[in-house]
């Protein structure tokens, strides 16, 4: 599996690319090698996405290119216990927390774990025992720039999680992704595959946090497949520190009458780039995507959502709320594609931005690409400051300015928060959110 054909160009490649190739060359062969090699070759051929690429227009990764990366450490089982403050949900409220450190699941020795209807496997183990199953999920993504980092993850992830949801699961499962490093310039490749059986349901919360000062560059991928009639509520919550760079790609595939609620919540990180590609492949599939993007201090958040309707009677609703304070920048691009034949498709894109400081920036762009007749697609995008009429109304009732402003900021987020069906998850996310808003002390009183 030599990639010698690339070596003549190697000198011209940025250090980052060369280091990824070196990682590849150092990997042991496994049952997935053929698929991985194809992904790696394509990644090296296409290179790092740049601002010339459509979905990367607002996010420049040049600062990464000059670094050479090595694998983030794998933590031995039991050596890391996340502190309680990192946990989103109280012990009584979660069915289980699965700890994943730098992409490696920290599971008890048994490879077949079951938590009330959710079967949990290590991807490394599963690719030994059932390589065909895992291969199904590694089929090459397109060359599209939005999927570029996913190719790299496919080539280089060593371990990951495979969850099979077999029934209706009432309480949420938390996947606690812990990022940690001892030296600079490490990289992690967390991979999570969620397979929801027909008519199953579950709430899965992926929570990204860090421990210690240093973190790896995180290139994570989550794949979610919903079989007929499955109902999944999935959260990805980014809550690492201000120096972290995180690139997360999510891919959702939905069969007939399945329903997916997906929440993307950026509350932390220095540079957070998220993508969601949802494929509504069969009639009756429904997607509700909610994005809550909080720009704080110097943070850069770039969120790309693409919903593709390829069957009749499919529905997608995208709701995004972006808040930017300090000198942060928040970008939200959403796109709805309606393939020919996807008649009676219905889509809505609602995107609102709220600027809280003169040096913050929000860019939003809803797009539509329709190749079918008889569809109903609506979109709207607005960005502004706090409404002076609302503010004056509250001041005229005697509320102090801080309280009035906080309430208005909070109200702005209500459309996303009210979409969360699990009260405990909502409360936990509200808590984490409030801590990032101006006048958080004032706000806590109103909850």
């Amino acid at each position: 599996m030599s990639l010698l054909q690339h070596s003549s160009a190697a000198a011209a490649r940025p250090a980052a690319l060369r280091s990824f190739e070196a990682q590849w060359l150092g990997r042991d062969a496994d049952a997935l090698s053929a698929l991985r090699e194809e992904a790696m070759e394509r990644f090296l051929r296409l290179g790092l996405p740049s601002t010339r690429d459509e979905s990367w227009r607002y996010t420049n990764l040049r600062h990464l290119a000059a670094h050479g990366f090595v694998d983030a450490p794998r933590a031995p089982a039991g050596s890391l216990e996340p502190t309680a403050s990192l946990c989103l949900l109280g012990v009584a409220e979660r069915v289980a927390t699965v700890l994943v450190v730098n992409g490696y699941p920290v599971l008890p020795s048994s490879i077949d774990l079951s938590f009330n209807g959710i079967e949990i496997n290590s991807l490394r183990e599963l690719s030994r025992t059932d390589p065909g199953l895992v291969s199904n999920y590694l089929a090459p993504a397109s060359d599209a720039d939005v999927a570029r980092w996913r190719l790299l993850n496919t080539a280089l992830f060593v371990d990951g999680l495979y969850l099979k949801i077999g029934t209706r699961v009432e309480t949420p499962l938390v996947i606690l992704h812990l990022s940690t490093a001892e030296v600079p310039d490490t990289v992690a490749y967390p991979r999570v595959i969620i397979d929801a059986s027909a008519n199953s349901s579950a709430v899965i919360i992926e929570h990204h946090v860090q421990q210690g000062e240093l973190t790896p560059l995180c290139n994570s991928v989550t794949q979610l497949r919903l079989k007929r009639g499955a109902q999944i509520e999935h959260f990805r919550v980014f809550a690492t520190g201000p120096k972290t760079t995180h690139i997360d790609s999510m891919d959702v595939r939905q069969e007939r009458d399945s329903r997916c609620k997906q929440f993307t919540i950026a509350l932390g990180g220095g540079l957070v780039r998220t993508s969601l590609e949802a494929h509504l492949n069969e009639p009756g599939a429904c997607l509700d995507s909610y994005s809550l993007l909080v720009g704080h201090e110097e943070r850069h958040v770039d969120c790309v959502n693409i919903a593709t309707h390829s069957a009749p009677h499919t529905r997608s609703h995208q709701t995004a709320r972006a808040i930017a304070s300090g000198s942060s920048r928040v970008i939200f691009n959403s796109k709805v594609v309606v393939d020919a034949g996807a008649v009676q498709a219905e889509s809505q894109q609602s995107c609102r931005g709220l600027l809280l400081s003169p040096s913050a920036e929000i860019d939003t762009r809803p797009q539509l690409e329709i190749r079918a007749d008889e569809v109903k697609c609506a979109h709207g995008a607005t960005t502004g400051r706090l409404d002076p009429d609302m503010l004056f109304y509250m001041l005229s009732r005697g509320l102090d300015r801080e309280t009035a402003q906080s309430l208005l900021v909070y109200a702005f987020l209500a459309d996303v928060l009210t979409g969360m069906s699990v009260a405990s998850a909502r409360a936990a996310i509200e808590n984490a959110l409030i801590a990032q808003l101006p006048d958080s002390q004032v706000l806590r009183k109103f909850r």
């Binding site: 409404d387 002076p388 009429d389 609302m390 004056f392 109304y393 509250m394 001041l395 005229s396 009732r397 005697g398 509320l399 102090d400 300015r401 309280t403 009035a404 309430l407 208005l408 909070y410 109200a411 702005f412 987020l413 209500a414 459309d415 109103f446």
Partner: protein, 250 residues
């Protein structure tokens, strides 16, 4: 209680108030009438402390204090209330939150403890009953999806809970049917007492059948052109505003 002397104000660079003089004493109800664009709403907003309305001259005393030196929130806590002509909808901020925060802000300013949650709910429910409002109001966002009439009732409800010393009601009667008008009037009348005052800004004499004013003023072209008792309102209805403007010129 309220003494306005030579008040001038601009909105978006245009002079709207051109020397308003008005004195309102405790226990009195004053009605300010006038044609559209005469400056009635501007006067109400300036008194409540709207920042983008620029005061260019004159003074306003409220209970001996310089009202114009106070920000809007302190005017409210000092006992001034503005009932808005067009109450804004604030989705996501609960009606009850807002009312409770408003009442507590006022109590805090007066050195009183915060209101007990149970007592507060009982108080609101009692006032809501008086205003004939549905209980669904409790769970809704501020004015969210309210009809015009519901918004006006909500303004009066807020006034009843906050018990201001001076209430300025900006066209609280407009857009109300006769039944709603009676309810709103009853609410306002229930607040009348020798220590409080009410300024009604209105376009129509009709409201004054239910809330009988002590004095009626005609505001036109940014000035008060004529003052009188209730009969002035009746005469205005009969003869129109042109009559005041013409008689002034003559």
């Amino acid at each position: 209680m309220l003494k306005i002397t030579g008040l001038h104000a601009r909105v978006a660079g245009k002079e709207i108030l051109k020397g308003v003089n008005l004195e309102v004493n405790a226990g009195e109800v004053h009605a300010i009438m006038g044609p559209n664009g005469s400056g009635k709403s501007t006067l109400a907003q300036v008194l409540a402390g709207r920042e983008d309305y620029e005061v260019t001259g004159g003074s306003v005393e409220f209970e001996g204090r310089d009202l114009l030196a106070l920000p809007a929130e302190e005017r409210a806590r000092a006992g001034l209330f503005l009932g808005f002509q067009y109450p804004v909808e604030i989705p996501g901020v609960n009606n009850v939150y807002l009312l409770k925060a408003a009442l507590n802000a006022k109590r805090k300013a007066a050195g009183e403890p915060e209101v007990d949650a149970y007592e507060f709910l009982a108080l609101i429910k009692q006032k809501m009953k008086l205003m004939q409002m549905s209980e669904t109001f409790l769970t809704r966002g501020v004015n969210e999806g309210f009809s015009g009439g519901e918004k006006k009732r909500n303004e009066v409800l807020q006034m009843l809970v906050l018990e201001p010393k001076l209430a300025i009601l900006d066209e609280t009667d407009s857009g109300l049917d006769i039944d709603a008008l009676k309810v709103v009037s009853m609410g306002v009348n229930s607040l009348r007492d020798p220590k409080r005052a009410v300024v009604l800004v209105t376009h129509y004499q009709r409201l004054l059948d239910y809330i009988v004013p002590d004095q009626v003023h005609v505001l036109s072209g940014g000035r008060i052109l004529k003052s009188g008792d209730r009969s002035l309102a009746l005469e205005l209805e009969r003869r129109g505003y042109d009559w005041v403007r013409e008689s002034r010129v003559a």
